[in-house]
Symmetry: D2
Subunit: 264 residues, 4 copies
């Protein structure tokens, strides 16, 4: 079974790029991280519907899922996850079991704590608990590990090796070039990278970020909309009997701005 | 002129891998980040000599350069840099003008502050000053931007676009897949990635990192030595008249552990 | 000359408390940190005028001064400072020379970087520069060191000992019990502490902070308004000829909510 | 029943000061935070014995307890605690029930996560669990909340109000001036403050800290030994039937260096 996995989608250019890309790259299941999908901050009903209409099967997220009230309400949908290691009492849920073409698979969303958010529960231990429960249902476990620190990502990948089918990172918005199948069968990459305007401060207008770095004054960040875009994704094939990864392939596709706006 | 640029070299497996790789990948100039080259922490005389004997032209570094006293003393060598934005009073220097095959080029080492070290001077402003000075000497400016946060790296890349020939990141130990030539001629990538054992916690034994994440107790990290290795680098061609980048290419080469130990 | 120095004033309860307290505690000069004075976030014209009408001579601030656009515009006023170590290009200024009862004195606002904001210039070095300049004008230098880390605060106090008349901390909102005159004549305390509702999450409604700590989800913080309040300040006497501190005294005064609302 | 509670003891000057102070200030129970008691980093057998010989009943600690191997081994002693919210698998324990003069009381050691250590479990939730268990045994619960951020400390204090007898902070090494009895009977203060040399970088030689702030280069910190010292503590009386606090009083006592060394 083939999984097309897309990282953080940045606003409208990200969504338009995704629509184009899904015409080109085909898979059995499409999983997308939506924490920046609506104007760069959170998600809305409209964006949720737009993404579903493109064929997105499961949506994961991260720290930005709380940015819009609408997005928080949407966490009731079965196919929209937030990191599972938010403490008890947080709205929404951090995992789900899904079925496609007669095959059941589980998706787990986790979030790192280093340089990111110390309020969360231990993602390593939460994974242990979820693994125990979910592996009774299906051998296919897919983990979006939304995190900043590369040490935390790699340590988690090795920790989950042989238990998860796929461990992939999101959140940094930069694709990494370390897609590999670990010793015990887990497909791994540190970050899928963003989908949106490429010549930008990780998807946002660079002027504001540069101003922050030069003056120290907090800025309002806006989605970069006027540049060409990039689609970053991984395509992973998983053996549906064993849950082991068969292959992991990186996809990077540039789109001219004109290609997108003609129809988006 | 072709520059082969290598990121953080992790201990002995990193050095052995580098020696092998330099037999295969040829360039006019070789630049290596050495902050983890001696046992994972800093550099020693012996390691410095070993790297020179392989043909390394310029060594950059980062936060770990202070880990060994020997390494601090070595900062007097013209070809060993530490980040230029350490405040006045820090030993060593953060840039140098070098010459190879009759061509002069400048190398600047900078360090990010976000999630890394708030004690440093503003890397954007230090770059402005160095650019003013060094661009009088040569149009070729190569910047090792040793940093954690991807927003700081990308914002800096765009900020320096058209002034630097190459801006490349180091420090996260994970290669990124965003090598590109920016609008005004600067070759850019967020992180070159490490050279060392691949199945590891960014070069170190994963057991200790996992223990830290599970128990919270600080651990002593040791270089991973028993696994196969990876060579991560970028190869950039620069027009020596204009200082603009002509091409940037990512290199990733796996080595079997046996290949290395036979002669290393 | 006697200086009454007040830390972070939290919203309306803080302002009302200040008005009451200034009827009781008298001094030649009143200096107040206003970064949280308007609804807990920044300052407005109305609040600025209100504070002036109470007899506040100089206003300092910190990281929250950027929270309201109005407050940023107000930075043009001579008597409203923001930390001096924001990089060049930031609006406003970080120091001023003032005169009261025929005596000139300088106020410097600085901000720490540890756990607070890595974008700023080195506060130790900025102090050196300002000292050189301002000590030509007056021996009385008063420093609001707006910072989080106690190590940075104490290290700065000792660094400035003998050059500053007073070094006092703000930002943590908790008064410290370490008011002392250092070896070379500088009056020091790590934090003046806030003025506002005492039974609170450092001035804000505790329910939201607790919710954050329990669920990890970001909350909108609101000023606590329904509790009794506290006035925290220091009273420092400085020799106007030498600039050395003669005495430093801590003031803490509780007010019943009823006392305040009758007239505020 | 009277509890004399002492914060972080810094090395030899801290221990000598404690010995002197315990001759002057009397209480039924003495609780001391020992994370910096041996040379500023961790604890040793010798120091443990020295502290017991002075009459210390219970020792709490924090992030520095792991600095010395000897100290980790000592965590088997019933009366030496480490923060209870280190994850399962960490050596030692984070609470204990003790008895003195026929009265049982529980001591809980917790650690904050903000600006300190994101690896730990949620201290609010761990407190809930321990409260459930320990309040069956005794109404007297004493909590050392070892933390950096004042918002986390105050939020915790209010959260535990009415359940804990005493919540006091340690770790910043600076005494705070907010000792009070909260609405539901919990005695609270944000930080007890350190015991050791006063004119110092929170107990350590200031030269090294200043060097760090000026040059950015990591330094080895050494205990300040040549200055006069300060004893910082709180004295809290608790109703042994209800577990409610009756009074909380701050103690601060200076000692001349000569007084200490004559006999230490
Ligand atoms: Fe994101
Ligand atoms: Fe994120
Ligand atoms: Fe490194
Ligand atoms: Fe580094
Ligand atoms: Fe404040
Ligand atoms: Fe502040
Ligand atoms: Fe401590
Ligand atoms: Fe501590």
């Amino acid at each position: 079974m083939k999984f097309l996995i897309v990282g953080d989608i940045i606003g409208r250019p990200g969504r338009r790029t995704l629509r184009k890309a899904l015409d080109i790259y085909k898979a059995d299941v499409v999983i997308v991280n939506v924490e920046n999908s609506a104007g760069g901050f959170g998600i809305t009903h409209k964006v949720y519907d737009e993404l579903k209409s493109m064929g997105v099967d499961v949506m994961t997220s991260g720290n930005h899922i709380w940015d819009k009230k609408e997005g928080i309400a949407l966490l009731e949908r079965k196919d929209l996850l937030r990191p599972a290691n938010y403490p008890e009492g947080a709205p929404g849920k951090g995992y789900g079991i899904f079925e496609k073409k007669g095959v059941k698979f589980a998706v787990i969303n986790l979030m790192g704590r280093i340089f990111l958010d110390p309020h969360l529960e231990n993602p390593f231990k939460v994974f242990d608990q979820l693994y125990q429960m979910l592996s009774l249902e299906t051998p296919i476990l897919i983990v979006d590990f939304h995190a900043e620190a590369t040490s935390e990502k790699w340590a988690f990948g090795i920790y989950a090796d042989g238990r998860a089918s796929i461990v992939y990172g999101t959140h940094t918005h930069v694709p990494t070039y370390d897609q590999l199948i670990l010793k015990h069968g887990t497909a791994y990459t540190s970050d899928v990278g963003m989908t949106g305007c490429w010549y930008s401060a990780i998807g946002m207008e660079p002027e504001d970020a540069i101003k922050r770095f030069l003056t120290g004054i907090p800025q309002k960040y806006k989605v970069e909309e006027k540049e060409d875009t990039v689609f970053n994704a991984i395509l992973v094939e998983v053996n549906t009997n064993t849950g082991k990864a068969i292959s992991i392939e990186r996809i990077q596709h540039y789109f001219k701005r004109d290609e997108l706006t003609q129809e988006g």
